[in-house]
């Protein structure tokens, strides 16, 4: 083992952690003042839940062994046998922690669809279920030697594991939970764009660790990952800006959404595509996610902070796009453009499988949760705001 690799993955772990409050702040700026605390706190709680689940059984079920392609076993429950000094290429204990952060971020992303209306106790219950029955299987399927990875599907840093799962999960939740009281009748304005842009800063910054760290080494793949990640994000931001400009003004939230769309889209592909691929993925994701967001609004679906349109659609698109653009000179995987159709087929199957599973199972889990602890707060609590009603706090005095 190599101190440079360890240094890089430790740094990346910290960077991914920063994305958790990053998501919270990004979202919090876009809700009303009365829910600002709630929105950030949901992210923090996501991380805390993810940590506990991960330590107790999550890591083990994701990465230890394999039970018929679907899940791992419980051999490493309570991190039994996870070592601090052995592992390839980094100590397994570090790998475990790095992966834990991903679980936390993913759960934070899905809070988009619960914004300004979820009961916190119910969210905790749901969060545990969701990690157990969606995140952990996905991590196993694609990264833990589960059926999708055996089939040949690739997901460099979480296009499906993180973004499809949370994005399409959020869509299911939006249908189930219904609109915020008054949505569509009166305008619900972002209460603090600077807060959202502080969140964006943390996300953009943290994504270096998210995608770069997924190489698990400080090597050429990591370098490629951060380069294509950053380039895709800028081209997507530019595209979104351009598209929105045609229709009106280039808003900061649009540019920010474009940047995130580019980041989500390149995530599955970052270790496989080259700069040209990144540019194309960036540009298309800027257009595609814009359209998705527009569609969602026109359909009157209150998937409030657009985890679906940005993470879901972006992650799904990027997962397929890597089947087209994967350049064998990067990591040895060739996409359609390099004459190999198999990868594209695997990717399409994987995307369809993860979308379907994420949507359907999230729906079911939310139904179950609703039967035990109703997910929505009462109308009065929603009116007063979750900060007071759920946390007994006031965001700004």
């Amino acid at each position: 083992m190599n101190s440079g690799d360890i240094a890089w993955v430790m740094t990346s772990t910290a960077l991914v952690l920063l994305m958790v409050p990053g998501v919270g702040l990004f979202y919090a700026g876009m809700v009303r003042k009365k829910n600002v605390v709630s929105m950030i706190t949901l992210s923090i709680i996501s991380m805390i839940i993810a940590c506990v689940v991960w330590v107790v059984y999550g890591y083990s079920l994701s990465f230890s062994g394999d039970v018929s392609g679907f899940m791992g076993n419980l051999d490493r429950a309570f991190l039994r046998g996870v070592d601090i000094s052995s592992g390839e290429p980094i100590p397994e204990m570090l790998f475990m922690l790095y992966q834990m952060m991903f679980a936390g971020v993913t759960l934070a992303i899905i809070t988009s669809a619960m914004a300004e209306r979820v009961r916190v106790s119910s969210f905790i219950f749901f969060g545990v279920l969701w990690l157990t029955f969606i995140y952990i299987p996905f991590a196993h399927w694609l990264w833990g030697n589960g059926w999708l990875s055996k089939m040949g599907a690739l997901d460099f840093a979480g296009g499906m594991v993180v973004h499809v799962s949370s994005g399409f999960g959020a869509l299911a939740l939006a249908f189930l939970l219904g609109k915020r009281y008054g949505y569509g009748e009166h305008s619900i304005e972002p209460h603090s764009i600077p807060l959202t842009l502080i969140g964006l800063a943390m996300l953009w910054f943290g994504w270096f660790g998210f995608n770069g760290g997924s190489a698990l080494q400080a090597n050429d793949i990591a370098v490629n990952a951060i380069v294509v990640t950053f380039i895709a994000s800028c081209f997507a931001g530019l595209t979104w800006m351009a598209v929105s400009w045609i229709k009106g003004k280039p808003g900061s939230l649009g540019i920010a959404s474009g940047v995130i769309a580019g980041l989500a889209s390149i995530t599955p592909a970052a270790g496989f595509v080259d700069v040209a691929g990144a540019v194309v993925i960036g540009v298309i994701s800027g257009i595609l996610c814009f359209i998705a967001l527009d569609l969602r609004i026109k359909r009157g679906i209150d998937e409030s902070l657009d985890a679906w349109a940005i993470h879901g659609v972006g992650g799904a698109f990027g997962s397929i796009a890597l089947g087209v653009f994967a350049n064998p000179s990067i990591s040895g995987y060739a996409g359609l453009m390099y004459g190999n159709a198999n990868l594209l087929v695997s990717q399409i199957i994987a995307v369809i499988a993860t979308i379907t599973y994420a949507f359907a199972v999230t729906f079911v889990l939310a139904k179950i949760t609703n039967m035990i602890i109703p997910m929505r707060v009462s109308i009065e609590e929603e009116y007063v705001g979750l900060d007071i009603s759920q946390h007994g706090e006031v965001g700004y005095a």
Partner: protein, 109 residues
Amino acid sequence: MKMVIAIIRPEKFEAVEDALAEKGYLGMTVTEVKGRGEQKGIKLQYRGTSIEVDLLPKMKLEIIVDDGHVDEVIKTICENARTGKYGDGRIFVVPVEKSVRIRTGEITE
């Protein structure tokens, strides 16, 4: 002249604003306020106990109009600000003795 002071729900502000504009009442001054009504706000239930959130955000509109327009303004606000639930707010009318347009210095008594 009168000053019509309306305290309404923030989420109804747009509707009221538009309705007033349509009827030609453009001038207005708006303040973000908090208000407590006669129900002492909203009661939230928690395992046995309950807490009251008594100060809720409201919008205060101040509209100066000639005496003859007061009723129409009141009607317009009422129609557009009403939900029928507690907390819809109040309208108060206060006499104004003089009005000055700073730009021109023109005075209306």
